[in-house]
Point group: C2
Chain length 365, copies 2
């Protein structure tokens, strides 16, 4: 049976949202169990009011918490009793198959690399959120902030890893991949993007559609948008801001006066559907790709329903063998550059935590 480790103490509404979310997820599928990692007493208190199959819920005590105020690398090394560190240790020891955490992003990324470790051949794991799009299929944006400065080989890996993720979790046989640039023509972009575009064109294990623009993230026909972490982060947050602004404008206009308020009530269900279509909570968390096991970074302010989606996502990628698919693709593609830099970079484990601040939650509008 698939076993999912839950970092129950990280996030704005921990452990309530995490425990309730895990139980919600258990109701939706029968082929997995969860290990709730955190303060045992608090977790038991949360569980006491819920109905669940106790044979599918295990608790591992970890009283400490890593917060957004902690320095990630230091916290991971010193807070050995924290829920995040203990949960990753379970993964490493083979006592769980995947992990879901809504804890501090920097700490999760750092613990993932330091404790769990990277897939051999991958030098730069990447954070990959799923963004709502007009088609309703969700667009994967990889990387959105784990790697500030990238080399072409990193972007090639992002494309392969996101492809494996889309195949394993969303059943896409041949997801279409685009490279985020300032125009669709091959000559667009700086040296990094031009070289990456050329390498991606040669890659046979992915379905590459060429350069795409920012607007294609939400209205285009690609399933995956590959970006360096800096650009991906700007795109993700620009979209987040746009969604917030439009939602704020809608609220303002519908609350303007009594007449508009009355009419808002009349179209309540339509507005609810619009919000749902554009809501990132329904999209799940950001997949942290390139690690030896699946790690889902849930939004820091996840509520039970949103967290349950993330748990389901973790189960899906284990079922679909995402990590195995990535390893297989690496073997097929095997660009000579892949192995060497990965080994060299193995000492620079603090890199992801530097680039991805606590605000890179991997969520969006």
């Amino acid at each position: 049976m698939i076993k999912i480790a839950i970092d129950a103490m990280g996030g704005d509404f921990a452990p309530a949202a995490q425990v309730q979310g895990a139980v919600l997820a258990l109701e939706k599928a029968k082929d997995f169990s969860v290990v709730l990692v955190g303060d045992e007493e608090k977790i038991r208190r949360e569980l006491s009011g819920l109905k669940y199959d106790s044979s599918r819920v295990e608790i591992v005590h970890a009283p400490d918490v890593i917060t957004n105020d902690d320095v990630p690398t230091k916290a991971v090394r010193t807070k050995r009793d924290s829920s995040t560190v203990v949960a990753f240790e379970l993964l490493k020891e083979g006592r769980a198959d995947a992990l879901v955490s809504s804890g501090a992003t920097g700490a999760v990324l750092t613990a993932a690399v330091l404790i769990l470790g990277r897939i051999r051949g991958i030098s730069r794991p990447a954070l990959c959120p799923r963004i709502p799009n007009l088609r309703g299929t969700g667009t994967l944006l990889c990387d959105c902030g784990a790697n500030l400065e990238c080399k072409p080989v990193n972007l090639v890996h992002f494309a392969m890893m996101a492809t494996a993720y889309a195949q394993a979790a969303y059943g896409m046989k041949s997801p279409k991949v685009g490279l985020l640039s300032n125009g669709t023509e091959d000559h667009k972009g700086d040296a990094l993007h031009q070289e990456s575009n050329a390498l991606l064109r040669e890659l046979s294990c992915i379905d590459y559609a060429g350069n795409v623009e920012g607007r294609d993230i939400m209205v285009g026909d690609v399933d995956i948008v590959v970006a360096d972490g800096f650009t991906g982060n700007i795109a993700l947050k620009s979209i987040e801001g746009c969604g917030k602004a439009i939602s704020g404008i809608m609220k303002r206009e519908f609350k303007k006066n009594l007449f508009s308020k009355l009419r808002a009530a009349i179209v309540y269900d339509v507005i609810k559907n619009i919000k749902k279509s554009a809501d990132y909570e329904t999209m799940g968390g950001a997949m942290f790709l390139g690690l030896k096991k699946a790690v889902v970074k849930a939004h820091g302010n996840s509520k039970p329903a949103g967290f349950a989606v993330c748990v389901g996502q973790a189960v899906d990628v284990v079922r679909g063998d995402m990590v195995g698919r990535i390893e297989k693709m690496l073997k097929i593609a095997q660009p000579e550059e892949t192995a060497a830099p990965a080994e060299k970079a193995a000492s620079g484990v603090s890199a992801p935590s530097e680039a991805a601040g606590p605000e890179n939650e991997g969520g969006n509008a």
Copy 2:
């Protein structure tokens, strides 16, 4: 009297939208006149159905058109009878004070640099659209695609130029400036952004608020967001795509069935107000900053009302002495680097046209 040159032949609905837009703008203020540049017969035909003060409208014949299919540098050198080239010649000769064009972006940027020329001390002119925001004040994003690769001094110039623009056109005494990065802390960003942030902190002629994130473009409290052209372009188009997607989702939900359609009619005016608040057409065109005179790049698919806003914008920055303000700021700030690289770069005039493709329309969602 202020005189605005109108490139009447560029754009999807030329010359109708341009001629009608110019006449609309003339109705709104009395202190300026226009020079319509383009095919005289076609312009006269458009004018014949309109009511306007003929003493405020001049026509300069220019039969040729530069299209999106032309190579900008070549077209500007060979199509000497095109409306774009002739309009810029008028500016250069002092026969007009500012120019509005909805022609091919690459051609407009190239003609601006080649014919009109840069302000002394500015090596990289920048394209600066105004993006709707939650506060309703509009956020200036500078640069959004004219300069693919930037140096810190360029970003400093962008901040100064956009400040002068905000002061001249929108009466902001001390517009707040942010630098687009992947987090707000000073250590965020790559070398370019860290150095730029440090330089901007020392600049006394602007009100610098530090690093901002993508979401701050539409929901933050800065008036100006400074970005390298690549990142700015990604942000702008990501926002554009988000707006289009949400608008598409709204349309879909309200047209789902007869009941939702009926209710859409009931909230028609509210939806119209929401759209208006988020509509870039009401925001005007992108200001092309750093040239000896004001140049407004209107959206390629401008309609009369949107084009009229752009003409008004051109009048505003002439009235507010935007170019004089930029020159004054350069003298005050005078970082030693500014003069030399500008002169050196003077030969690289094709740069803007390379970076800003025909799709960098400077509009947004």
